[in-house]
């Protein structure tokens, strides 16, 4: 990605809630599609919460859903749309900027791990 293609750092209200941030972060990790159970386990959330939040992200045009089945068991797969990926990258850039701004008292937290490689995701 060239600097000109890099999305501007901006808070995205759709992605901002931590659950949706987690879902988008997992879908932006590099896998083409991620299955419902894998996404639920990695995000550490319940089935109903994942269903609700992915529906919200789908309606916002950030997530694409593919339904299939293995035998009689239905399987649902998710992936980020190009728009969703761009919005996520912009939001992560905003988070990284915010992480670099050290307010008085909270600054210089040497114990806090530095954010890694997310800008590239």
């Amino acid at each position: 990605m060239t600097p000109a293609d890099k999305p501007a750092a901006a808070l995205d209200p759709v992605i901002h809630p931590i659950t949706r941030l987690s879902i988008c972060g997992l879908l932006a990790s590099g896998a083409e599609w991620v299955e419902f159970a894998a996404l639920r386990d990695a995000a550490g959330i319940s089935d109903s919460l994942l269903s609700k939040q992915t529906r919200f992200l789908e309606e916002a045009g950030y997530v694409e859903v593919r339904k299939g089945a293995v035998g009689r068991r239905p399987r649902t797969w998710f992936r980020l749309t190009p728009g969703g990926r761009k919005a996520f990258q912009g939001h992560v850039a905003w988070l990284q900027q915010a992480a670099r701004v050290s307010p008085e008292g909270a600054g210089g937290d040497a114990a806090a791990p530095a954010p890694r490689a997310l800008a590239e995701s």
Binding site: M1, D5, L11, I18, L21, S22, G25, L26, A28, S29, G30, A31, E32, W33, V34, E35, F36, A37, A38, L39, D41, A42, A43, G44, V70, R75, W77, R85, V92, L95, Q96, A98, A99, R100, V101, S102, P103, A106, G107, D109, A112, P113, A114, P115, R116, A117, L118, E120, S121
Partner: protein, 157 residues
């Protein structure tokens, strides 16, 4: 601009990193996947020898290798819940492994063909076995590199 505590942002970024690591850990290859891929490699390196004795061995072997590879990838995606797709060019750490795999295919095929031409069948079989082991090992290395890239979120757009 929304003001927020920087530690909150750091914590969110760290959470994303931990969740990616959890997702990547699902891609650990089961024994049957390694066995199926080794079978695919064995078929691939049996072709230079087989084509000497059987007509249509190259075409049949190629089709079998492709089918085995596609089925193995699909099965791994179903079991792990992580579908990498058919192309894995977007994972930068896996590129050296891809070059190594291509080199093994060409070197193994050329060496076997040469040995078969000189009627050194036992040596050709030994090269085929070595190439199968090397190819399977490189494919495992390739998947380890993909896992590392998933963990780090280091993926080309």
């Amino acid at each position: 601009m929304v003001m927020r505590d920087s530690t909150e942002s750091v914590a969110e970024l760290e959470l994303l990193r931990a969740q990616r690591a959890q997702l990547a850990s699902r891609l650990k290859t089961p024994w049957w996947y390694v066995a199926v891929m080794a079978f695919g490699w064995a078929v691939a390196f049996a072709m230079p020898i087989g084509s000497r004795y059987l007509t249509g061995a190259t075409l049949g072997g190629s089709v079998l290798v492709i089918v085995v590879w596609i089925l193995a990838q699909r099965a791994l995606a179903r079991v792990s819940g992580v579908d990498l797709g058919m192309g894995t060019r977007q994972y930068p750490s896996s590129r050296p492994w891809t070059f190594a795999i291509v080199a093994i295919i060409f070197a193994g095929d050329a060496a076997e063909s040469l040995l078969v031409e000189h009627r050194l069948l036992a040596a050709a079989i030994a090269v085929g076995v070595l190439a199968t082991v090397a190819g399977t090992g490189c494919w495992q290395g390739h998947l380890r590199a993909v896992r590392r890239d998933l963990e780090a979120g280091r993926v080309a757009a």
